[in-house]
Every structure is written in C-alpha cells, then in structure tokens.
C-alpha cells in the first residue's frame, strides 16, 4: 500500500499542471497531535475529523498528506500520507526526539487541488521509560505473584525440611554411576543439541556437575562429547571444577570433555561411534534433543548401556520413554538439579514452582466456574480477575 501513496505527490503535480478547472476541498478539522505513548520515541499520533468533501460528487477528496515543520512559520515538508477515510495516523518518519514539531494535513481532491488544515503543535516526540499498556501491566502482576512465590519459598526454605516426591529418573542417576563403577566402564554424558540459551541445557549443566563430582570420587571415566561451542566451554569448566572440588584435579582428563562438531548428523555419527567402541555402562541424555534422540537411544541400547534421558521437547520425550530405561519428563528435568543438590534454596524454588501451578489450576477452575455462573456475577466479579491477569 505504501508505494502507490508515495507516488501521490507526483500524480498530483501532473494533474495540477494539466487540470483546467479546480475546486479546492474543505480542509480537515480539529487536527490534534500528541506524542505517541509507550514507544521508543520519534513518533507522533495525529487525529482529525475528515474533510466533508470525501464523498462529494465532483472531484472528491482522495487522500491526505501529512506535513511537519520545526516552527509554525517555517516551511512544512511532507512526512507521510493517509488514505481517504482515515481519521488518524502515527507519523514515524523524520521526527527526532526532543525537538518540537508542528503538523498540518493537506486534503487532496481528485482534480489535484488541495486545502491545508490548521496547524497543530508544538509536540515534542520522546521515548517512554515504562510501557503502560495493560498487557505489560499484567505481566508485571504475574511476575509479582510467581516470582514472589519462588522467592518466598527460597527464603523460607532454610527453616524446615521440605518434602519432594520421589522421581524415578533422578534416583536412577546414582544407580547408573554405581553400575559404571562396578563394571569398570565409562559414563557417557550428552548435554543435548541446544545452545547455552536453552533452559534444558542449563538444567543439564547442574546434573553434569553432580555426576562429575561422583565420577571423580569413584574414579570412573566420564566422557562428554559436546555439540555447541559455548556449551562445550562451559562443560569443560564444570567437569574440571567438579574434579577439583572432589580433591582429584589430577584425574581430570581434558581430552574426555571435547567438542565434536556443530552439525546434527555428523555429531550423531561420532557419538554412535563412541558408544559402539567405548561401550559405556551408562548413558545420560539431558538437555535439548531433536531427531537424533532415537538414533542415540537405540544405538545405546544395542551397546548394552543403561540409559537415563530428560528433555523438555515433547516429541523426544516420547522416544526416550520408548527406548530408554528412565526418562525425566519435562519439568522433572528442571527439578533434577534441586533434587540432587538438596540445598534448601533449590528445594524451596521447587515449592515455589508448585505454588505457581496452584494459581494456574486455581485460575483455570475459577474461570471455568465463572463461565457456568450467572451472567452478571461473571461479568462483574470474575471479569475483574480475568482483566487483571489475562491478556485477552
């Protein structure tokens, strides 16, 4: 739509030269200009009442041109257009923050005659420091609730022992390490194919920390082939640190935490090769996984390894459930670090998450019930909650 509008002035010029009789239209009325709220600046909202000649029979108004100038008496330059029928526009071009601007609107008629409105302004466009749109306010409300819950529980956590239900996949982690130690075979740990930006990868890091600490104690070999370069550097730090903490820095082998390749299938080819050659006793697949999940898990099965998997990717969970011995489903992966560490702050955060689920469930039930209830009650009372919490 924009391109033809840019051509308007040219067309008008052409018509202006060759038109014979012209009847200038009535200009637009009540032009108002205000700085656009909740923006980064450089924008001004203009509103007006349309020219009554939009609908006249002889050469009706076919479009508007927006003009701006730094002073009311200086030269106005076109900065945008609006089509006939429009009553508002946000001027975006050629406006700088912190400088005053005056605006007027030129109504063009079919025969290229035009009329200018009164000048509006001055307006100083500026950026806002806080987004006051309701959608953003609701996010703040939610932040206060959910983050508040988590923080509250983290603070409270030191005072008394908190219960966490058993999670089979997490209990299996120690078993897996024990098995490898008994069999004298290595452990393979894969942090997934996600980058360090993915939460599942971050969750895998903390499990890797625990596993590395144990393998350092038991002197079991830990192989960590990495996919993403940043993840690789972090894994090195984690394993090295864990061996240091366990008092066995000499047992750390830098060549066992290595970067393979940043490409899905070459990576799988390499890891499959490692599985078939090193025959690890236990394989960990924690983090973000894609199509390779099943190739890894099936090869691991062929190699006779116990396999423990966890991911937040729904589809890959289904593969892991089918092909692995233990699977951490979704949030269980995120609970793993807290569960393993038993640190009060960590456990507290899990409790905070549960409270988050309570509000989720509570709001859903409230919503469902309110839909069933009397129209008035719903609109006035529960409607308040919905407006407060939900972007609809």
């Amino acid at each position: 739509m924009r391109k033809p509008l840019i051509l308007f002035p040219l067309v008008f010029l052409f018509l202006f030269v060759f038109a014979s009789a012209q009847t200038p239209p009535t200009p637009v009325d009540s032009l108002q200009a205000v700085d656009t709220p909740d923006d980064a600046g450089g924008q001004v909202d203009l509103t007006w009442k349309p020219s009554p000649d939009e609908g006249r029979a002889v050469s009706p108004v076919i479009g508007y041109q927006i003009l701006a100038a730094p002073a009311a008496d200086s030269t106005f330059v076109p900065i945008g257009t609006a089509s006939a029928g429009a009553t508002s526009v946000t001027a975006k071009d050629r406006l700088e923050n912190g400088r005053p601007y005056y605006f007027k609107i030129r109504a063009y008629a079919m025969d290229s005659s035009y009329a200018e409105s009164e000048v509006a302004g001055p307006v100083v466009p500026k950026g806002s420091w806080w987004n006051t749109k309701p959608a953003y306010l609701r996010i703040v409300i939610w932040m206060v609730f959910v983050v508040g819950f988590i923080l509250y529980n983290i603070r409270k956590a030191g005072k008394k022992e908190l219960y966490i239900r058993p999670i089979a996949g997490i209990d299996a982690i120690d078993e897996g390490i024990g098995r490898a130690t008994e069999m004298g075979r290595p452990i393979l740990f894969i942090c997934g194919l996600g980058d360090a930006a993915q939460a599942a990868t971050l969750a895998a890091f903390s499990v890797l920390g625990r596993v590395a600490q144990k393998t350092a104690q038991y002197q079991t070999r830990l192989i960590v082939p990495c996919y993403e370069p940043i993840v690789f550097t972090i894994c090195q730090d984690i394993v090295k640190g864990a061996y240091l903490n366990a008092g066995r820095p000499e047992a750390y082998n830098e060549k066992d935490v290595f970067f393979v390749v940043y490409d899905q299938f070459p990576y799988v080819a390499a890891v499959n090769g490692i599985m078939l050659r090193e025959k690890p006793a236990t394989n960990f697949y924690l983090g973000q996984f894609y199509a390779e999940s099943l190739m890894l898990a099936e090869t691991g099965f062929e190699a006779g390894s116990i396999q423990i998997a966890g991911t937040d990717q729904l589809i890959q969970m289904s593969f892991f459930i089918v092909a692995c011995d233990f699977t951490l489903i979704g949030e269980e992966l995120f609970a793993a670090s807290a569960y393993l560490s038993k640190e009060p702050e960590q456990v507290g955060s899990i409790k905070g998450q549960d409270w988050g689920k309570v509000i989720f469930a509570g709001l859903s039930i409230l919503g469902v019930v309110s839909v069933l209830l009397d129209e008035n009650l719903r609109v006035h009372f529960f409607g308040f909650f919905r407006k407060l919490m939900l972007n609809e």
Partner: protein, 276 residues
C-alpha cells in the same frame, strides 16, 4: 508355536529393518491414489494468502535442512507458488545454519519459475546465528540484523525494501520449519510484535505446535507430508510436481507394516508370558 514366539521376541533388529524396507519398496510399483481431504488448519493458510492483495508483503522464514526436504519442501514450494501467483512480495530469512543454502535455492527456483525479480518481488536476507536475538532485532528493524542481504547487497539499495521497516509492514509471517526455531517465532515475533504467524512443520512437530494453533497463536498449521499433500491439492499442483500427494500412498503401507510388527510383538509377548 511357543518356540516361534520366543524366537520372535529375541529377533535380531536387522530383520525388522529388512521388513520395513521391503514394505516401503513394494508399493512404489502399485500407485493407487487414495483420496486426501483438506483440514481446517491447512486451509486457513491457503485462504489467508488468497485474501492478500497484489503488492502486499509476506515474511517467509524457511528453516529446514536437507534431511527434512521430503516433508517440508513440498509445502514451501506450494506456498511460494501460490504467493508469487498472487503477485504478493516476499521477504525471507534463513535462520537455520543448515538450511540457508536450501532456502536460497527454493526462493530462486520458484521465483524463476513464476517470473519474479530479485529485489523487487522478493528479497533474501540470509543467516545470522542466535536466531532468537535476530528475530527480536528484526522486530525493530530488518536492517539491525541485516544491513546487507544474503548476496551482500546493501538492503537500502533494494527497491522492495524501501518503506519496509519491520514485521509490522508485512501481512504475515510464514515459517516452514523443521527446527525449534519455530518457538522463537511464536515467542518473539508473534508474542512480542503480534504479527499473524503460520507454520509449516514436520509431522513430528505437529503435535507440539497443535496447541499453539488451538490457542490462536498460530492462525494456520501444516504438518508433514499430509499437510503438504493437502496444500498441493488446494493450490492445484498436478502430476510429478505434486510429490507429497504421490508419496502419501506409500506411507499408508509403511504404517501398516509397523502396526503389524507391533501386533506380532504383543502376541508373542502374551503367548510366552502366560506359560511362565
């Protein structure tokens, strides 16, 4: 009988591989042409594109690698054919490192076929790592992440990019994707900048993204070969070009083979278990 079942339970997986392979090869020689119905979620994209005016711009984000060509490319081709046929213009990125070359090939091929000109009818911006950041940057201005396009041209020098600042100057974002990058589009492009978003995904991903379709975050969703076959039929692609339609037939038999294997496995499991 029991012995047979016991053997079946311990069968070498290479036999399973062989059976699967045979079940796929044989139907290639017997084309039946089973009927395919268009579903609501696929039709939504077709209708939305049909409703566009010539000169409108769509943002197109192909993110699939050679490995997912069979599923995603038929959709991409059908979609591009329809878009170019409607004289709608296309701005594209390729934010998946393995798919950049493919994205470029697809666009060039379809544009050539439909007689479209680079820089006027379509623009390919190319690849930058950390897709989510790039997607967010483009919500401010395409030029923030892509001062130059894939071919190294200054973006401002391309006629089509004039007056095209960010997503809000496009009518919709359509991503044909086989990677989790789809999440970024939902979260950062639709979530933050509120542009209508449609996805074409692999059949695997369809489960994941169906929720987003239901919740309205996606206005349309195409899943796998089936979605592609439906789209091909709506756009009216015929003959050899309609790859998805042809292959849906064979798919049926492959599925049957697996189901029979699972049933056999269960028979064997129950037959041997009772005797213990």
């Amino acid at each position: 009988m029991k012995e047979f079942f016991q053997k079946l339970l311990k069968i070498d997986r290479r036999w399973i591989f062989l059976i699967t392979g045979v079940a796929i090869v044989i139907p290639f020689f017997f084309f039946i042409g089973l009927p395919i119905k268009a579903t609501r979620e696929v039709r939504a994209l077709y209708d939305a594109v049909e409703a566009l005016k010539p000169g409108d711009v769509v943002f197109y984000a192909p993110e699939y690698d050679p490995a997912t060509i069979p599923e995603v490319q038929p959709m991409a081709h059908a979609f591009l054919r329809q878009v170019f046929r409607k004289n709608v213009r296309v701005v594209a990125t390729g934010l998946f490192q393995l798919g950049v070359a493919l994205a470029e090939q697809d666009l060039t091929l379809m544009a050539k076929e439909m007689g479209k000109k680079y820089g006027e009818d379509y623009v390919f911006l190319g690849y930058k790592p950390y897709p989510e950041q790039v997607i967010l940057n483009m919500g401010e201005d395409f030029r923030k992440s892509f001062p130059t396009d894939y071919y190294g041209n200054d973006v401002n020098a391309l006629p089509m990019m004039r007056g095209l600042k960010n997503y809000s100057d496009t009518k919709m974002i359509v991503s044909m994707t086989a990677v989790s990058g789809a999440d970024y589009w939902i979260r950062s492009a639709h979530g933050r900048y509120n542009i209508p978003l449609a996805l074409g995904v692999t059949a695997v991903m369809a489960t994941d993204y169906y929720t987003y379709y239901q919740s309205g975050q996606l206005f349309a969703l195409m899943g796998g070969l089936k979605g592609a076959a439906e789209y091909e039929q709506m756009v009216g692609i015929k003959g050899k070009a309609a790859k998805a339609t042809l292959r849906m037939d064979i798919q049926s038999f492959a599925h049957l083979a697996i189901i029979i294997l699972v049933i056999l496995g269960n028979l064997a499991y129950f037959a041997t278990r009772e005797k213990k």
